[in-house]
């Protein structure tokens, strides 16, 4: 192991920032906390992204590892203990605090995301994370957003103590199935990962009940669902500002107020999209996750036994999973509607919503002036915001296609699935093949990237476009 002595701050930040970048979560959302008039910082429930790196991912939090020394040998991870040539570094709590505060004052970041390699033992690692966060909150009076990893295997009391200091906690599920985990991360197992998740969930629930003594947990759940349908505000809590030691205000701040999240690596193991999404549905339903992140597998360890696609990480697949994730969280879709055992993977060419609509043409076209909110949400090209606007605006006026466009409806997708005052935008056939070929021609980037699809010119519009199981587009006359 390469451990250099007397490394300066610049080298450490470089190594430990670089090592943390494969963690996906960078959101700073979920808590609304006004400044207290003295301490540094506040939080906005919608979150702010302060920069975007060269790969287009946002940099909202100072995402670093406390140390990249690690006793585990997860095969997908650049910091695994068998890699002798990885330079190793460890921050002191003071250095982390200084970086966070100084970056925050210059408006570079929205807060801190602290993760860590497992140094010596989970207990020692979690203790170091706790000390750092404790110092940041109580010595530097930092009031901004903090997200930390709960280290699986650390004592529950330590996780609980840390949870009262931070806004969000996460435990990475790493791989969708226990099988994959055994294979790639021999030191981790499903049970030790799920234990802290369950603990965080239970403490949060107890905490929620303490917050709202007059409303039963049933009402609370309804409120959660309503809020979950609002874009941008992921059930943000309004919290009053308090003074003094952070622990003494734990009753106000609460336990992990912005909730917990997790992430899965996609494409390192052979699971289907259906399996992945089923796991993620379970995490949302049974663990009340705020977010599940999907991370396209990059073979950073250059392990030849793991997939090493020449086309790079499976980014399109990752994109489809996120689309389905949003359909599940904001559009009231169930995964079994989108995928099934027989059709376990998403369509490469079409987004999951269009794909679903094409398979359920019997439910279309939908009349804009009359359809209820849930039905509008299911129309491709209509999002949560535009559906809400339509429902509000049609109370006072008869809408036309111009209005819809201004409200944010994407007409090039929606026009096949809607009527407005009984009329289509222009006459189109509500037929699967016709709509599919039009949708693909008009916008689909995937098709353009894959290359043109040639076919014989025809006087009659009778060609059929079908997608085979392997995602190949076949056009026949």
């Amino acid at each position: 192991m390469l451990i250099e002595k007397d490394m300066d701050l610049m080298q450490k930040l470089h190594i430990l920032g670089d090592a943390a970048k494969y963690d996906v979560s960078c959101s700073s959302s979920g808590v609304d906390r006004r400044g207290d008039g003295k301490s540094l910082g506040n939080c906005l429930s919608a979150g702010l992204c302060h920069a975007f790196a060269g790969d287009g991912r946002c940099i909202s939090l100072l995402k670093i590892l406390l140390t990249n020394e690690c006793i585990f040998n997860c095969r997908y991870c650049a910091n695994n203990c068998n890699r002798a040539d990885t330079p190793r570094a460890t921050f002191t709590p003071e250095e982390v605090c200084q970086l966070t505060v100084e970056f925050y004052r210059r408006n570079y970041i929205e807060g801190l995301f602290l993760s860590s390699g497992i140094r010596i033992s989970p207990l020692v690692t979690m203790e170091a994370i706790y000390q750092t966060v404790h110092q940041l909150r109580n010595v530097h009076h930092f009031y901004g957003y903090i997200h930390v990893k709960a280290i699986p295997g650390a004592p529950p009391e330590l996780i609980e103590k840390t949870g009262y200091l931070v806004d969000r906690m996460s435990v990475n599920l790493e791989l969708p199935t226990g099988e994959g985990l055994r294979h790639l991360a021999p030191n981790k197992n499903r049970k030790t990962l799920l234990t802290p998740m369950r603990q965080i969930q239970n403490l949060r629930q107890r905490n929620d009940q303490a917050f709202l003594p007059n409303s039963g947990s049933g009402q609370r759940n309804i409120k959660k669902q309503e809020d979950a349908s609002l874009p941008g505000t992921l059930y943000g809590q309004k919290l009053p500002a308090r003074k003094g030691q952070w622990e003494s205000r734990e009753k106000v701040q609460g336990f992990v107020p912005a909730g917990q999240s997790t992430q899965m690596i996609i494409g390192a193991t052979p699971e289907s999209d259906y399996q992945i999404m089923k796991v993620s549905e379970g995490l949302y339903d049974r663990f009340q996750m705020k977010r599940v992140y999907y991370s396209a597998f990059c073979n950073v360890t250059e392990d030849t036994t793991l997939p090493m696609p020449v086309t790079g990480p499976p980014l399109l697949r990752e994109h489809r999973l996120y689309q389905a994730d949003f359909l599940m969280r904001f559009y009231q879709f169930k995964i079994d509607e989108l995928l099934s055992e027989d059709k376990p993977n998403f369509n490469v060419f079409l987004d999951p919503k269009c794909d679903w609509a094409l398979r359920h043409l019997e439910q279309f076209p939908v009349e804009i002036m009359r359809a209820d909110y849930q039905t509008l949400l299911r129309v491709p090209g209509i999002g949560v915001k535009s559906a809400k606007r339509i429902v509000a605006a049609r109370r006072s006026a008869i809408l036309d296609y111009q209005d819809l466009k201004k409200m944010g409806v994407v007409l090039k997708r929606a026009l096949y699935f809607i009527t407005c005052n009984g009329r289509q935008m222009y006459p189109v056939k509500v037929e699967e093949d016709y709509i599919l070929s039009n949708l693909l021609n008009s916008e689909n980037r995937a098709v353009r990237e894959i290359g043109p699809v040639y076919r014989q010119l025809s006087l009659f519009d009778d060609q059929k476009a079908t997608l085979t199981e392997d995602g190949i587009l076949v056009l026949d006359a």
């Binding site: 970048k21 400044g35 920069a51 287009g56 004052r105 408006n107 570079y108 006072s396």
Partner: protein, 257 residues
């Protein structure tokens, strides 16, 4: 047609609303414009409106109580826009609101062109304001003052002042809006901030950096570069989310701007 020429400020526009409302004739025959560059029209009567704090105050009070705070805020955002038709859109939105049974629902009435326009203006301004909350960068000067410079299209100084006064209560900071020649001055421990005409600030250099400033800038630049996953490089997406016009006032991408 009666055209009311207002000063380009919240006070000016709301005074214009007051005067136009009080003037004789149907609302469709009245129009509001702001600023001093516009095309003259034949057969129109021009009325110059002098900003009047009392009249504006009355309008604001009425708007808050009749339209509700959210709609009022939306109108204020529209008023910060750099569009020339904003005052007219605001006026006719208010007219529409008062003709509705429930004026609080005015922004649901998206079929109305003025309301739609106000909504669109508010959305643009809000978007730019959020971008500025995210992308402006402070540097620490020798005397410990934090200084940031920005060049927004819309007059969003007030939004920045609100946000950063709440966020940095114990810092001395200056945010200079170089487009509109305004600055936010915030003194540590004070809850107030001042917007002033910043011609003088524009002339002077903000002053030398503090000792550690360059270190932290370099740390940030290095960290920013290290965060890119090379396998996923996608500069088009980066430009889409972090538009190039913000790069020149940033630290990490200043050299590429």
């Amino acid at each position: 047609m009666k055209i009311f020429v207002c000063e380009d400020s919240l006070e000016g526009i709301f005074t214009g609303v007051y005067d136009a409302w009080a003037a004789a004739g149907p609302h469709t025959e009245k129009r509001l414009i702001t600023g001093d560059t516009w095309n003259m029209e034949l057969f129109a009567e021009y009325v110059t409106v002098l900003p009047d704090a009392k009249k504006a105050e009355k309008v604001i009070r009425t708007l808050k109580s009749r339209l509700g705070y959210e709609a009022y805020e939306q109108l204020c955002y529209a008023a910060m826009s750099d569009a020339i038709d904003k005052a007219d859109a605001i006026y006719h939105t208010i007219v529409t609101a008062f003709s509705m049974r429930d004026s609080k629902r005015v922004f649901q009435n998206m079929h109305d062109p003025a309301v739609m326009r106000c909504f669109a203006l508010g959305r643009t301004v809000g978007g730019e304001a959020t971008h500025h909350l995210e992308f402006i960068r402070f540097c620490e000067l020798e005397n410990g003052v934090l200084f940031a410079r920005c060049t927004p299209k819309n007059r969003i100084t007030l939004v920045l002042a609100e946000h950063f006064s709440d966020r940095f209560p114990s810092e001395n900071f200056i945010i200079l809006n170089a487009t509109h020649h305004e600055a936010v001055l915030h003194a540590a421990g004070e809850h107030t901030y001042i917007l002033c005409d910043s011609e003088a600030l524009l002339q002077e250099q903000p002053g030398a950096y503090s000792e550690t400033e360059e270190l932290f800038q370099d740390l940030w630049k290095d960290y920013f570069e290290a965060m890119t996953i090379e396998d996923r490089r996608n500069e088009k997406l980066q430009r889409q989310l972090f538009p190039k016009r913000y790069w020149k006032d940033s630290v990490e991408l200043k050299d590429k701007a």
